[in-house]
């Protein structure tokens, strides 16, 4: 059996009177690309926020590579190789790209990511010509790639992507999907998306959240034929 990375069970969260997540179980396996879909407000971002240590669950357990990560802060998670990006792109806009990357390298400076590795990453993400530009003046697509680069220098084992193609133009989506396909060789991925195409082309397995509950979990092809998913999610979207 392959190594389990993320292990979540019975995860629940309420905000005031509103149930955001109810008793969600799930796991991811090393080397796998796990997708998560669900309509707006179904609790996807809440799920990621809890796994990444931004909010505390009301109940449930969280594990990563055999370590109990409940109550861990984001920087502790980054240290053990679990990191994430944000739905609204987040870079140090006022600082040059180079310094953005350097900031991400602060954590690992003692472990050392040698300059050849970094150069290879930068070139792969096509940021090598943009190093002296302020991150704020990059295009959205470039910022998304910079985000990715800033996570990859942390040498993550699992990277959680919150809507990585959100706001991108159609051609850019195609390029991003290609990049993410190549990314699969570098680390495990957990990707939240609205765009069905991303899930279909990338994910080995998909979890479906509706109104805070997990309603399905399986290969994309099966999920996209699942009646409940079609009725409650795909159906309403295409109606």
């Amino acid at each position: 059996m392959s190594v389990r990375l993320l292990e979540v069970s019975g995860l629940s969260k309420r905000f005031g009177g509103v149930v955001a997540l109810k008793n969600v179980d799930g796991h991811s396996v090393a080397g796998e690309t796990l997708g998560m879909i669900g309509p707006n407000g179904s609790g996807k971002t809440t799920f990621v926020n809890m796994v990444s240590g931004h909010i505390r669950p009301d109940s449930g357990t969280l594990g990563f590579a055999g370590i109990d990560i409940a109550g861990s802060t984001p920087h502790q998670l980054a240290e053990i190789g679990l990191c994430r990006t944000y739905q609204a792109v987040r870079v140090f806009s006022a600082l040059p790209v180079r310094q953005n990357i350097d900031n991400a390298r602060l954590l690992l400076s003692h472990r050392g990511l040698d300059s050849a590795e970094l150069g290879e990453l930068t070139e792969w993400l096509r940021l090598d010509t943009r190093l002296d530009v302020d991150a704020g003046s990059l295009t959205l697509f470039e910022q998304r790639r910079l985000e990715l680069l800033m996570r990859l220098v942390l040498k993550p084992r699992l990277i959680m992507l919150d809507e990585p193609v959100g706001g991108l133009a159609v051609t850019e989506v195609t390029e991003m999907i290609q990049l993410l396909k190549e990314l699969r060789a570098r680390c495990s991925i957990f990707v939240i998306e609205h765009t069905m195409r991303v899930i279909r082309e990338l994910a080995d397995r998909v979890m479906v959240l509706i109104a805070g509950e997990k309603v399905a979990d399986g290969p994309p092809a099966d999920i996209l034929r699942n009646k409940r998913v079609i009725d409650e999610y795909l159906g309403t979207r295409h109606a």
Binding site: P74, R90, F92, N103, S109
Partner: protein
């Protein structure tokens, strides 16, 4: 990002140490200079917090006050040498600063600033209502100058000593902001959530910053006491915190040169106004508003931005010419 060139820093250091000697002939000028140096030391500390970590600590003067009062108490009541009392008082102030600031580190933006204002107010009230240590509203006068090999360090000697501490403080600040720690500070200032997400220990960095900044406040507070020879709660109240903040913001936050420029221009003003202290309040009030509304980068920030624009225009036109060729 280059904050100030090394050569400029060393020239500044040499000039700052030479100035008291030149000004020594004129007592008033020498005194204004000495006070400006103390303000500059404070502004450097404030800049580390406000300009680099991005938090506005309005309790700064209160922390300086803890050290200022402590050094007087230690030398007067316990008979300690100033040179022993100063580091002890400074570390006390720094620990107090961290202890007071610790809970507020979870807050940011306006809430942090408000919290620091409340703490400053509590400190001011404490200075007034614990007269055993502070002699209350009246304050403590005739504070002796620091001892110096059997004699006293005053006049030019004391001014040189203050200048030395100030210069060392500025060089230290320049060194810190170029170190990985300073890089972390800037990351926290720009986006603390992102900083945390890429593995920076935000709270720990803020605690370290608080400690260092309180050291600046403390050393300044100790020298203030012995240089003026008189301390009262008013010397360490929120207006003083605001003033130091203004030096930084007016000159240019987040740069080494900015606070120097801001302090050099603004710190001497109250001494020139003499009888018209109320005008000083009005003037700094107006400046606070002007800086916030019209020049958030301060004088130096505006100059840097302008230079950047002209450089960009020059490279752009060069590119155009190249493409024509």
């Amino acid at each position: 990002m280059k904050l100030a060139s090394d050569r400029a820093l060393w020239i500044f250091a040499a000039a700052a140490l030479a100035l008291p000697i030149i000004a020594d002939g004129n007592k008033f000028l020498a005194f204004v200079l000495g006070m400006t140096y103390i303000s500059l030391l404070w502004a450097t500390g404030m800049n580390l917090m406000y300009g680099f970590v991005g938090l506005m600590p309005l309790m700064f003067a209160g922390v300086a006050g803890i050290a200022g009062y402590a050094v007087v108490h230690l030398t007067r009541e316990f008979g300690w040498s100033f040179w022993l009392a100063m580091p002890v008082a400074t570390v006390m102030a720094a620990l107090a600063g961290v202890a007071l600031g610790l809970p507020s580190l979870r807050l940011k933006g306006f809430y942090f600033t408000l919290c620091s204002l409340v703490i400053q107010t509590v400190l001011t009230l404490a200075f007034i209502f614990f007269p055993t240590y502070t002699n209350g509203d009246t304050g403590i006068n005739q504070i002796a100058p620091p001892d110096w090999f059997g004699g006293q360090l005053k006049g030019l000697g004391l001014e040189l000593m203050i200048a030395l501490f100030t210069v060392v403080g500025i060089l230290l600040c320049a060194w810190i902001v170029r170190s990985p720690l300073g890089q972390r500070f800037v990351a926290i200032r720009e986006d603390d959530i992102l900083a945390e997400a890429i593995g920076i220990r935000v709270v720990r960095c803020k605690i370290i910053a608080f400690f260092i900044v309180s050291l600046y406040a403390g050393v300044g507070g100790c020298f203030y006491s012995v240089y003026i020879g008189f301390v009262s709660p008013r010397a360490f109240d929120v207006l003083v915190s605001m003033n130091i903040w203004l030096f930084v913001a007016f000159g240019g936050r987040g740069t080494i040169a900015g606070p120097i420029i801001g302090t050099a221009i603004l710190a001497p003003i109250p001494f020139l106004l003499q009888e018209l202290q109320a005008f000083k309040d009005i003037l700094s009030g107006v400046l606070i508003i002007v800086v916030t509304l019209l020049m958030p980068g301060g004088i130096y920030g505006a100059w840097l931005a302008r230079r950047r624009r002209t450089q960009k225009a020059m490279t752009d036109s060069a590119r155009v010419q190249e493409s024509r060729v």
